[in-house]
């Protein structure tokens, strides 16, 4: 299956900490203070299910995902989208230790949910698009770079406990 996403691939060894510039820290915190969690989370997750329909494989219990309108209006989709964005919030609050912050979530996604980690990148791309739409012109190239770097670290950490 060809790679579908362009989120940057990060190789962070467990002994290498990710370094954030002041601009990156400020930008990431600023983004999360400005976006509406109950709008962005559901919108990004719904978009992922529409744009990459194979991701629906994990949500057989969610009821009607038959078309874009059904996905967007599905209350379980909204709820899960909100859950995801609150999960990201934990990384924002622990920028210097995202890896350990996500150890349990990584195990959960691997051992219990059996999610192919490539899917994390697809969701990350949808988050980028939705945040871009929310912030408009303020989502400059530099802000995009910081946000995508943040998402890449999250994605990498979520994939770490897979064996």
């Amino acid at each position: 299956m060809p790679e579908n996403s362009v989120s940057a691939d990060l190789q962070t060894g467990s002994d290498k900490m990710v370094e954030w510039t002041d601009f990156e820290r400020d930008t990431i915190k600023d983004i999360f203070s400005r976006i509406k969690y109950d709008v962005v989370g559901p919108a990004a997750f719904a978009r992922c299910l529409v744009v990459y329909p194979w991701t629906q494989r994990y949500f057989g219990g969610f009821g009607n995902l038959y078309n874009a309108a059904a996905i967007k209006g599905n209350p379980m989709v909204s709820k899960h989208g909100t859950t995801i964005i609150h999960g990201l919030d934990r990384a924002v609050k622990n920028l210097d230790d995202i890896e350990n912050t996500y150890t349990e979530l990584s195990v959960l996604h691997s051992e219990k949910l059996h999610v192919d980690p490539d899917n994390f990148k697809l969701l990350a791309d949808c988050l980028t698009i939705v945040v871009a739409a929310q912030l408009g012109k303020e989502f400059t190239g530099e802000v995009q770079a910081a946000f995508q770097k943040f998402l890449a670290v999250v994605v990498s950490s979520l994939g770490r406990q897979y064996h």
Partner: protein
């Protein structure tokens, strides 16, 4: 993965009709983002005196790219044939690694979200993503 349905083609054409008036801005912004967010792409532009993302050369390149995209929309029923010459250009002269087509496509999508937040719905997003993937494939056709 890259077969465009009738609905995809209709969606792409309708969206393009709405946004093509801003194609220069779209192109300039997409190329600028690409150079900033994926600095390795700058390696293709070492011949530019000014490599900054908003330089006249970068803007001009954005315009060129979007003219190609607009042309591809008119040839949406047979991209392989329609983009034959552009593919030869990319294969033998430019030799851009095809991984970069995905990068630029991603940034075009981001710009669409920034500039047309209400029109760039998930339905439009999926059709446009498929279209850009099909264009990328057609551009890589002559590579080997």
């Amino acid at each position: 993965m890259t077969t465009l349905t009738a609905k995809d083609k209709q969606t792409v054409k309708a969206f393009w009709a709405k946004v093509s008036g801003k194609s220069e801005d779209i192109g300039a912004s997409a190329v600028a983002r690409m150079l900033v967010v994926y600095p390795q792409t700058k390696t293709y532009f070492s011949h530019w005196q000014d490599q900054s993302p908003n330089s006249p050369a970068a803007r001009k390149h954005g315009k060129t790219v979007m003219m190609g995209v607009g042309d591809a929309v008119t040839k949406i029923d047979d991209l392989k044939e329609g983009l034959k010459e552009l593919s030869q250009l990319h294969a033998f002269t430019l030799r851009v690694d095809p991984a970069n087509f995905k990068i630029l496509s991603h940034n075009i999508l981001v710009v669409m979200a920034v500039m047309f937040p209400t029109d760039f719905t998930p339905e439009v997003h999926v059709s446009l993503d498929k279209f850009l993937a099909a264009v990328s494939l057609a551009l890589a056709e002559k590579y080997r």
